[in-house]
Amino acid sequence: MKNVILHILKRIGASVVTVFVISLIIFIGVELLPGDVADTVLGQSATPETVEAFRKELKLDLPPHIRYVAWLKNFVQGDFGNSLANKRPVAELISWRFSNTLFLAATTALIAVPLAILLGILAAFYRNTLYDKVISTTTLSFISFPEFFVAYILIALFSVKMELFPSIAMIDPHMGLGRKFYTILLPALTLTCVVTAHMMRQTRAAIINVLASAYIEMAEIKGIRRLRIIIHHAFPNSLSPVINVVAVNLAYLVVGVVIVEVVFVYPGLGQLLVDSVAKRDLPVVQASGLIFSITYIGLNLLADVLSMLSNPKLRQSQF
């Protein structure tokens, strides 16, 4: 257990450095984009005079490195700053949107992960049969359609034709949990269609890989039933790659769902990030960019730890 903890600590140390570098990259990236927040907020109605007044108000006339250091100083002290465009505290803008994003990601994961693993195990079990091919083809076709297409098909079917679920997944804090689930079912299903194939294929491949090992052959010779072999012997040993692909997909569910957010009018973090980049609203871009990178780093760390714990060889090894 000791080396696991040591490993975690090392990784966290590296993550802090990564996050810092990312913040620098984001800052430089936004600086490189043409125009600034004063230009974009005023848009077509901008005049040199009003843009100048706006810039002064936001201290955008200061050189970039001074602005970056000022931002970093506040950030380290836990102050995310205020949005440049509407002066609201960034923490207030982000917090409820991030929890919405997490809620949608968690709901999707709740449906997609068990479904994908189950389908993967079954596909491995019925390898090369018609069932396997049907599952693979179906999930792969879903992943091949653009997300918005799947979303519109689901809306057309379940919302417009059958009138079962709402097409606008706007949730608010006053809703009960059940009502919230009902409201976001269609976006969750859309995302399920998108992420299932990847996880399912990985589960299937990992199990089939393990099935080729000698100890599985031994188990077969002993006369254990195939399904039992897969569930008790093959699946636990193929967990490591499965956990990794699940982590990557979960991270995707948190950071990459802006199209689904737009189609279903779901108030998540993705839309905020897109708007803020378009408006060059640096504090908001920085904060959401960092949240996204921390999500990726954190989930990858979690996946590493879990696959270490799931694998006795890694659990014991020194590194």
Binding site: L42, T47, V160, E163, V265, L272, D275
Partner: protein, 530 residues
């Protein structure tokens, strides 16, 4: 009497409308015999029903929106702002200024001094009584060095604002301006309590028909009826939910599934399908909004009027209205004054597609071999790139070479529009000729996107602004439209209609063409039919 009972049955079963019922009953001369339970509401049809939650969705919301009236730019925040506060003047559906927070106004003979009498007893949502001080504060918010307001240029001519007591404000102008009340009706110039600053703007404490309950920029605004509103009986809805929905399909789906009651900017490509849905009404009204291709007339080779004329002549307006607007619009005549404006020059002949004449002009300019770069992006208007491609094709027939340069949407207004010699642009238009011309066609105007400077035009603009005689003014504006049309740098192929859709349970008077969503006053002008 059997006919009457038959009609009554039909009406009760909703097989005929109230209007039909009344018409039939009156035709029978039976009105007096009708049960009073059926009639009173009909006779009072002019009195709208109160109550209900009105749910609308519109485009133009961003998480960076602010309710600070100086930065209002797009539909969603404008509409929310119009629910919360008022201007001194309201512009009605006939494009006439009518009293809002100002009870009345009068000008000096030369129209360079305007006195507004403020309505008494109007209260802000926080209970504070509206006085002249609030008006001065609110107007000054858009003036001066520090101001970042888009309304700043309109107010440049104000030299002084004076108050006389709590209810009288006098504006002194550098030059006469007959349309000054219109300026006070501009949607930026909203009246808020004196001293509103910073975060306070987001609280939306105005005098408006609705009180802000929650406001999440780029997402949603919830408002509830202001029981203390100064307009009698208004507003009719008890609550309003305003959603920012950028995706046009999401808006139409929301309307179709009954989640929404009204949406703006219906997709003209699919609106015929929306029309087929039984309980949805689609409205399409002519407006001042227009698409243009401004040419910088001070850049070579566009300095030659023959080049500009040739380019104007190879624009197939009919085809553009048909394919880009799907018929929901009118042909433009290369000047920005719409047929709904007061002094629209209907007597000017419509410019039509004429490749031969275009070739003649281009040859005269000696530019037949030149390739004209047209910079376009869908940020300018939806379909701008398609329109530019169409332009390129129709020009080919006259032997004129146009090359469409696709520009990124991001940063289009800063880097392309008014920077490249020829680009695509969108104008929402202005309620008056003077505002439209002053903002985009007068020499030195901040948004003069053609750099056009015509002495005769500029002289006329000043004269017409101070002219109080309607007939003389019309004459001047007609001449100016003709100057812009023939000498100016803007190719204006089309005026688009405001195409919106709503639930047929909603009732409304004549819809204004001044801005979208019934001049963004839909929340106080509309109501639910019983």
């Amino acid at each position: 009497m059997s006919q009457l009972s038959h009609l009554t049955d039909l009406f009760k079963e909703n097989k005929i409308s109230r209007r039909q019922f009344i018409a039939q009953v009156s035709a029978l001369g039976l009105a007096a015999a009708v049960s009073p339970a059926l009639l009173p509401t009909d006779l009072l049809a002019a009195t709208p029903k109160m109550g209900g939650l009105f749910r609308q969705a519109m485009t133009g919301g961003a998480t960076s929106d602010s309710l600070d009236p100086a930065t209002l730019l797009a539909s969603f925040p404008i509409n929310v702002s119009c629910q919360l506060s008022n201007c001194l003047v309201e512009i009605d559906h006939k494009f006439q200024p009518v009293p809002e927070l100002a009870e009345s106004w009068e000008s000096s003979k030369t129209a360079d001094k305007w006195t507004f009498k403020l309505r008494k007893g109007v209260e802000f949502h926080n209970g504070k009584t509206l006085t002249a001080k609030d008006v001065v504060f609110s107007i000054n918010h858009h003036r001066g060095e520090e101001s970042k307001s888009a309304a700043k240029p309109f107010l440049k001519s104000i030299t002084d604002i004076k108050t006389d007591g709590d209810y009288e404000i006098t504006f002194e102008l550098a030059n006469g301006s007959a349309d000054f009340p219109f300026i006070m009706g501009d949607y930026h110039l909203r009246i808020y309590p004196e001293g509103t600053t910073g975060d306070d703007w987001e609280k939306g404490i105005g005098t408006g028909p609705f009180i802000l309950e929650s406001w999440e920029p780029g997402v949603r605004a919830m408002t509830k009826r202001n029981p203390n509103y100064f307009k009698p009986n208004k507003p009719y809805f008890a609550e309003v939910e305003t959603l920012a929905i950028t995706d046009v399909n999401a808006r139409s789906n929301g309307l179709k599934t009954g989640r929404l009651d009204a949406i703006d900017r219906a997709d003209v490509k699919t609106v015929h399908l929306l029309k087929r849905v039984p309980d949805i009404n689609v409205t399409a009204i002519n407006s001042t909004m227009h698409y243009s291709f401004p040419i910088l007339v001070d850049k070579q080779p566009y300095t030659d009027v023959d080049v500009r004329t040739a380019l104007k002549l190879v624009c197939d307006r009919e085809e553009m209205v048909k394919t880009i607007l799907n018929g929901y619009g009118d042909m433009g005549n290369d000047h920005p004054i719409s047929s709904v404006n007061r002094y629209h020059a209907s007597e000017l002949p419509q410019r039509t597609y004429d490749p031969d004449k275009a070739k003649f002009h281009m040859k005269k300019a000696g530019m037949l071999d030149h390739t004209f770069n047209l910079h376009a992006s869908d940020a300018a208007f939806s379909g701008a790139v398609d329109a530019a491609m169409l332009y390129q094709e129709t020009a080919k027939k006259a032997g004129i070479k146009i090359k469409v340069v696709r520009e990124p949407s991001d940063g289009y207004w800063n880097n392309v529009w008014t920077k490249k010699p020829w680009s695509a642009c969108y104008w929402s238009g202005r309620p008056t000729e003077d505002m439209m011309f002053s903002v985009a066609y007068a020499a030195g105007a901040p948004w003069n996107d053609t750099h056009w400077s015509n002495d005769k035009f500029n002289k006329l603009l000043k004269e017409a602004r101070a002219e109080l005689d309607q007939a003389k003014r019309r004459q001047m504006y007609v001449e100016m439209q003709s100057l812009v049309r023939d000498d100016g740098g803007a190719v204006i192929p089309m005026f688009n209609q405001i195409v919106e859709a709503h639930n047929n349970k909603l009732a409304h008077g004549p819809i204004s063409a001044h801005m979208e969503m019934d001049g963004h006053k839909n929340t106080e002008r509309w109501w639910y039919e019983g």
